[in-house]
């Protein structure tokens, strides 16, 4: 029995020593940040929705702008960089139209559910476009809910050269054909063959990106909006547009032909700085 006792004692000792052999793993020490990040992007909201109600603008479900009327815009808001969900809600009541009581959301990606990618240091203009009654596409499982839509473009806010202003043009009037925008009585256009919600024209290597600002001399301009060609019929005159030196502007065609003011075909201007 003495031998047995010895054996059992050593066995228990082995057990004890083995379980104390449990070692931690040796993963490296992380280097986490210790404060919230300071990287930001900037976004300017413009409500170009035809007959749109007043909208509250949200980024990542936080209100960044309220009561934005149709055809007006808010100054740039600064927001944490990375990925941002862009959402618009009616300031009171519902948006109505095809969206009904749903919110307006920015959608991207193959399944149209992705949020907006916004790297640090960039600037964007987010337009609300289209009519409230734009129908929802009828294919089964379509993810475009119809109604108002976001249209987001990037802005290069580099200061214009001395004596110059920067200007660009977007066609955001649903139902209107492609337009050519030039100075009154000019035979050439500054902005050629702009189609509804188009962001660029041409194929590589000859691509014209519409978000690029065109430098023009500072001054007061009368613009004519033609259809069919640079010398085609004028559908809209936009007189007395002041373009100050050092400022950056976006002019956009708004409204729907045939509707009463202020929702008829017209133009509006955004000053970015």
């Amino acid at each position: 029995m003495k031998n047995t006792a010895k054996i059992l004692f050593f066995a228990l000792l082995a057990l004890a020593s083995m379980s104390s052999c449990t070692r931690d793993t040796e993963y490296p020490d992380p280097a986490p940040a210790n404060e919230a990040s300071s990287l930001r992007f900037k976004m300017l909201f413009c409500n170009a929705g035809v007959a749109s109600p007043n909208l509250n603008m949200l980024l990542n479900n936080e209100v960044v702008g309220s009561n934005l009327e149709a055809y007006s815009y808010l100054p740039y808001v600064s927001f944490p960089a990375g990925i941002a969900q862009i959402r618009a809600k009616a300031a009171s009541g519902t948006i109505g139209g095809t969206l009904g009581s749903n919110d307006l959301l920015f959608r991207a990606g193959a399944t149209n559910n992705n949020n907006f990618t916004a790297p640090s240091g960039r600037n964007y203009t987010a337009f609300v476009t289209d009519t409230l009654q734009r129908p929802k596409p009828t294919t089964i499982g379509a993810t475009d809910p119809g109604g108002l839509r976001f249209f987001v473009v990037e802005d290069n806010l580099a200061t214009p050269a001395a004596g110059k202003a920067h200007v660009r043009f977007y066609h955001l009037a649903p139902g209107a054909p492609a337009v050519w925008v030039g100075l009154k009585d000019s035979t050439t256009a500054i902005f050629n063959d702009r189609r509804y919600r188009a962001t660029s024209q041409g194929t590589a290597p000859n691509v014209v990106n519409f978000n690029v600002f065109v430098p023009v001399n500072a001054g007061i301009y009368d613009f004519d909006v033609h259809t069919t060609s640079a010398t085609g019929p004028v559908v809209l005159s936009v007189p007395n547009v002041t373009l100050e030196e050092g400022k950056i502007y976006t002019i956009y065609a708004k409204g729907k032909p045939g509707l009463a003011e202020p929702n008829g075909l017209g133009a509006a201007i955004i000053q970015h700085n």
């Binding site: 054996i7 066995a11 082995a14 449990t22 793993t25 990287l39």
Partner: protein, 1117 residues
């Protein structure tokens, strides 16, 4: 080799004396009887004749005692009872009866002879009745006997249910927390595991068993046999021995049945019906004499069939919430009619889209002959055959092209035609012959084995027809998800694996006094022929049925519509339309050993084994372009890769030392153990990947832009767009622009571990035996894999600290490219690393005699490795590992198969009522911590090109992590998302303990699982003739019996979501020219029901959480 090894925790013990290892042949096939013959003065008697008779078969074994009075019968048939008789001139003959021989163990039967004419009262009978206390046991392991097969529950009729009774066993045929690809499984000594390694056991891909449990006599599982004649594993050696015939013709016919009506329809409290299936298993076994006492036969034939429905989401159906499926019969019929219409110049029958039975089927045949030539020579020959197949739905992978969106399998969006299903066949034929010779003088014995195994795995189309000579066509539906597919399954044409294994083993023993010297050789020769030609028939994707029709037969005046994708892979080797990996290998083994029993009650074994792996790369092609490239090894030094060269031969030595000490000489307490090196093999598929993935077998064509618009579908695969009109003679130049390489390191070695164990067995009153056992394993050569073409990191991830790799991986980027050589997508090198260890401690109690028998054990295990080593291809070894930063050198962390705490046990009670009725009630219980898993993120924060393998950092506060809404529909603010994530971490036992640290690979565990399986047998013996019983046995078995008693018990809980967060980008763009300097951005999605993810575990709805019942009937004759 007389050094004493001291290891870590076992260093408490000084190994006093040598311990004999059980000295059995490669792949244990027999048992052994030995002992001493002494006279009344305890002097050994030399030259006494010993005859052992296996009573049921009359087989006789004879030998003589040697100079020390010791005799050994080294290879006797397993089972019994034996009657052993000793005859010595001038002395009375002595006999002992009722002795049983256990596989891999020696029964010790000693005799004391009295002189003729002298009478003594009471002769000492020291027959060995307890095989657990046996001089031959040294290492850890277990034996499972035939009675246990017949009585214990095994709903799948799989021997793995019994090998899992080994206390150190884990899930999926793993042992000691090691990978399940490192075991050696032999049947009658023939290597029967799938050496190629696509599944641990043959028949795995068709869910078939390689052998019927009715054919097995006994199974021996050895984790640390210090006998150097056993080898080829670093996990465990599992040796099964088949039944032999006896002098009586006897046998059994049986039938077992189960289906979905015998499965619980609820999981916990939730109704959750499973789809219908039916599973039948039936067979017959018979054994008997051809010549009584001399020649015996045994035959077993078994068939198993299972039917599952192929279509769960039929055409025109809708979900429980009423949303219609994308697939409609009108559209699918329109497509089918078009394909069958001869007007377009050809026809093709895509099969049906209605439901059909997906079959699983196997036939198993076994035939064995045992011939007792004379008392000295025994020969046995055994043939085993498996023919099995299983119908499988088409793979949803796109291969090197993009996968069809939403996958090809039947779902609420997709309904493939039946022609694109495939049938996987696993066929195995195996024959082995063994000759055992014992010298009449008892001075030497020999064991010779020769065997041949042929594995033939191949694919067909469902139903057994050939795979169609037709391209793969995927057609999308209006939802933008794949609607249907037809044609050849993309990975099926030519898919074939032939393995041939030849074994020749010989073991020669000298019995010299107290020494048993052994010299032996164990050799295996392999040849492999593997063909895998993904997308060789061409693969098309069309945006709609109309697009397909308008591409094949555009209406007059219109242009054909373009496909949305076309890809084809073709052989680049002239003269070989389906290039094959055709290569061979061999493993030669030589060993020498001495077992010394000179010290009383002590048995010591010391041996040395040399394993010589050899590779034949005569037919292996080389890549002239990659041979000249510079790659990068783990230290950053330049490295070259030669895909045409298989590893050089390195001799691997395994010295081993084992002991067994009968503490007080009465066989009531023994201490056993040893230490030694074990050399295993790797699944040869990891080397075969090098032979196939050499960059020169194939060219690919995948057009884009205008080239894609011009693609016209053709049903003639020899005229597929993109095929070259002719091939140059093979010159080692890769035709593909980009290719993958697999290779092995120059000095690659097979896995080796240094293993030590120590165990104590003690006989307790009442027929119980208690055991305490500890085992420690250190990896000497563990396998791991690295990408030698992965460029160094370009930066570190801000706010995290781990390495950040380049943004691009393509042919053109000159900066920020993760590829060192731009033409090479990946260059995976199989290499060795000497990190990794495992240890376990077991306490066990068992009772192996009497009407109530049972066992109960508790095992504690820890097992760590660098790479989980359980992928079926070299590529998945690399991508399947969760890491923090560098995928080329993961941290040492917990093994995949690690189960830290495991209780296992069984109890079996047999009772006879009246003379003709008996019942047996038995249970198997396993209670263990659930499977482990890794908390990783979706996506890839370190930009190494591998998704879902990055371990998360567990934040201490909101400042440490940037969270954003999951998608456009998420209504939560970042503050709300953080609160939900923080609450999840707080309630999770693992994550709350890892705040401020990275999660560990396999660090988290699912909750405890308690599984109780029950079997009730009722034997009715209506009549018996001449003490032979004819009977009927009814069987009712229940898997997960606790769940039958209460639906809330026996429910398996699994991780709710191990991809706990998703990486969606950085604050600044990560580009080839400018690595991201901003912090990573994550989402924490809600659960699939839209509610916040609040709990770590959910009930698994699978079969594991439900009871399953099976009924059977068996006739004995």
């Amino acid at each position: 080799m007389k050094k004493i090894f001291i290891q870590l925790c076992v260093s408490m013990f000084v190994i006093l004396a040598l311990i004999p290892a059980s000295v059995f042949a490669q792949g244990v096939t027999t048992s052994s009887v030995s002992g001493t013959i002494t006279d009344s003065k305890s002097e050994g008697l030399i030259g006494a004749t010993v005859i052992a008779v296996h009573v049921p078969s009359g087989t006789r074994y004879g030998t003589a005692s040697n100079g020390a009075g010791r005799y050994t019968l080294p290879a006797v048939r397993v089972g019994g009872p034996y009657e052993i008789t000793v005859v010595y001139t001038g002395y009375k003959s002595e006999s002992q009866t009722g002795i049983f021989a256990t596989l891999g163990t020696t029964s010790v039967v000693n005799f004391t002879m009295t002189e003729e004419g002298v009478s003594l009262g009471g002769v000492d009978i020291t027959a060995q009745t307890n095989s657990l206390i046996s001089a031959e046991r040294t290492g850890a392991g277990s034996n499972i006997k035939r009675e246990q097969f017949e009585r214990l529950p095994t709903i799948g009729r799989s021997f793995t249910d019994f090998s899992a009774l080994t206390p150190q066993a884990g899930a999926n045929f793993s042992f000691g927390g090691r990978s399940n690809l490192y075991n050696n499984f032999s049947i009658d000594g023939a290597t029967s595991n799938n050496v190629f390694g696509l599944s641990p056991l043959p028949g795995g891909q068709s869910n078939a068993q390689p052998i019927s449990v009715d054919a097995i006599e006994e199974i021996n599982v050895s984790l640390s046999p210090y006998d150097v004649s056993q080898g080829s594993f670093t996990g465990a050696g599992v040796n099964a021995v088949t039944r032999s015939g006896t002098n009586r013709v006897e046998g059994s016919a049986y039938y077992f049945y189960r289906d979905q009506s015998l499965v619980n329809k609820k999981v916990g409290a939730q109704e959750s019906p499973i789809t219908s299936f039916d599973n039948q298993n039936f067979g017959v076994r018979v054994g008997g004499p051809i010549i009584k006492n001399k020649l015996f036969y045994f035959i077993n034939v078994e068939r198993e069939t299972r039917n599952d429905p192929a279509v769960l989401f039929p055409a025109d159906g809708s979900s429980a919430t009423g949303s219609a499926y994308q697939q409609t019969s009108s559209e699918l019929n329109r497509l089918r009619d078009f394909l069958l219409n001869p007007d377009k110049g050809w026809t093709y029958d895509p099969g049906s889209f209605e439901n059909f039975d997906a079959q699983t089927s196997s036939w198993k045949y076994l035939a064995r002959l045992d011939y007792s030539i004379n008392d000295q020579n025994k020969i046995s020959v055994r043939y085993n055959q498996l023919n099995s197949f299983r119908d499988v739905p088409p793979s949803s992978s796109g291969g090197f092209a993009s996968a069809p969106p939403g996958g090809r399998s039947n779902s609420n969006n997709a309904l493939p035609f039946s022609s694109i299903w495939y049938r996987i066949n696993n066929n195995l034929s195996n024959v082995i012959a063994e000759l055992n010779t014992t010298a009449k003088s008892g001075r030497f014995s020999n064991n010779f084995q020769v065997g041949y195994s042929a594995f033939r795995d191949f694919r067909q189309s469902v139903g057994g027809a050939d795979s169609p000579n037709f391209p793969t066509v995927d057609i999308l539906g209006p939802n933008g998800q794949t609607l249907t597919s037809f044609g050849a399954e993309p990975f099926t044409p030519n898919n074939r694996l032939d393995q041939d294994v030849i074994q020749i083993n010989d073991k020669f023993d000298f019995f010299l006094g107290n020494h048993r010297l052994t010299l032996g050789t164990a050799n295996e020769f392999y040849s492999f022929y593997n063909v895998f030609t993904p997308l060789i028939n061409g693969s098309y994707q069309f945006a709609s049925i109309n697009d397909f029709i308008n591409n094949v037969a555009p209406p007059t005046g219109t242009n054909p519509t373009a496909p949305t994708q076309y890809a084809v892979q073709y052989s680049a080797v002239k003269g070989q339309p389906a290039p094959a990996a055709d290569w061979g290998a061999a493993q030669l083994g030589f060993y020498a050993q001495d077992q010394y029993t000179g010290i009383k009650n002590l048995s010591i074994t010391l041996g040395l084994r040399a394993d010589v792996p050899l590779f034949n790369d005569d037919n292996v092609l080389g890549n002239a372009v990659s041979d000249t490239m510079q790659f990068r090894d783990i230290n950053g030094n330049a490295e070259t890769i030669r895909v045409g060269e298989l590893p050089k031969t390195t001799v691997l030595y395994s010295p081993r030392l084992g002991f067994n000490w009968d503490v007080n000489g009465k066989k009531t307490t023994q201490v056993r153990g040893g230490t030694g090196i074990f050399t295993g093999r790797i699944p040869f598929v990891w080397v075969s990947n090098q032979v196939s993935n050499n960059g020169v077998f194939f060219g690919t064509y995948q057009p884009t832009g205008a080239d894609l618009s011009g693609i016209r579908f053709t049903n003639d695969i020899t005229r597929n767009p993109g095929l070259p009109t002719s091939l140059p003679d093979f010159n080692g130049q890769p035709l593909a622009n980009e290719f993958i390489l697999n290779s092995t390191a120059n000095n690659f070695r097979f896995p080796q571990v240094w293993r030590s164990s120590l165990g104590v067995d003690r006989k307790l009153p009442g027929g119980f035996t208690a055991t305490l056992e500890g085992m420690f394993t250190q990896d000497l050569n563990a396998i791991y894999i690295r990408d030698a073409n992965l460029a160094a990191p370009v930066s570190t991830v801000n706010g995290d600290g781990r390495s950040l790799y380049g943004a691009s991986s393509n042919l053109t980027a000159t900066t920020g490219n993760r590829r060192i050589n731009r033409r090479v997508i990946q260059a995976l090198v199989l290499d060795n690393i000497s990190e990794g260890y495992a240890y376990s401690f077991t306490a066990q109690i068992q009772k192996t005699t009497g009407p109530i028998q049972g066992m109960f054990a508790y095992t504690y295990t820890d097992s760590r490795d660098i790479n989980n080593q359980s992928g079926s291809t070299a590529g998945s070894l690399y991508t399947g590992n969760a890491v923090v930063g560098n995928p080329n050198l993961p941290n040492l962390s917990f093994a995949n198969n690690l189960i830290p705490h495991r209780f296992t046990g069984f109890v079996s009670w047999r009772q006879e009522w009246l003379r003709q009725v008996a019942t047996t009630l038995s249970f198997i219980y396993t209670g263990n911590v659930g499977a482990n898993f890794s908390y990783v993120m979706g996506g890839s924060v370190n930009s190494d090109g591998i998704n879902n393998n990055d371990l998360i950092y567990v934040p201490k506060s909101q400042n440490e992590i940037i969270l954003v809404p999951t998608d456009a529909r998420d209504t939560r603010t970042p503050q709300q998302i953080w609160e939900q994530y923080n609450a999840y971490i707080e309630q999770d036992k693992y994550l709350s303990g890892r705040r401020g640290k990275f999660a560990e690979r396999n660090g988290a565990y699912q909750p405890w699982v308690h599984l109780l399986n029950m079997r009730l047998l009722a034997d009715v013996i209506p009549f018996s003739v001449k003490d032979k019983k004819y009977g009927i046995q009814f069987s009712w078995e229940v898997q997960n019996f606790l769940n039958l008693m209460n639906s809330d018990w026996g429910v398996v809980k699994v991780a709710n979501r191990s991809n706990i967060i998703n990486f969606v980008g950085y604050e600044t763009a990560h580009t080839a020219t400018a690595p991201a300097s901003g912090r990573p951005v994550y989402t924490f999605p809600t659960g699939s029901d839209g509610q916040p993810l609040a709990t770590s575990y959910i009930n698994s709805p699978g079969l594991g959480s439900r009871y399953q019942m099976q009924f059977g009937v068996r006739i004995f004759f």
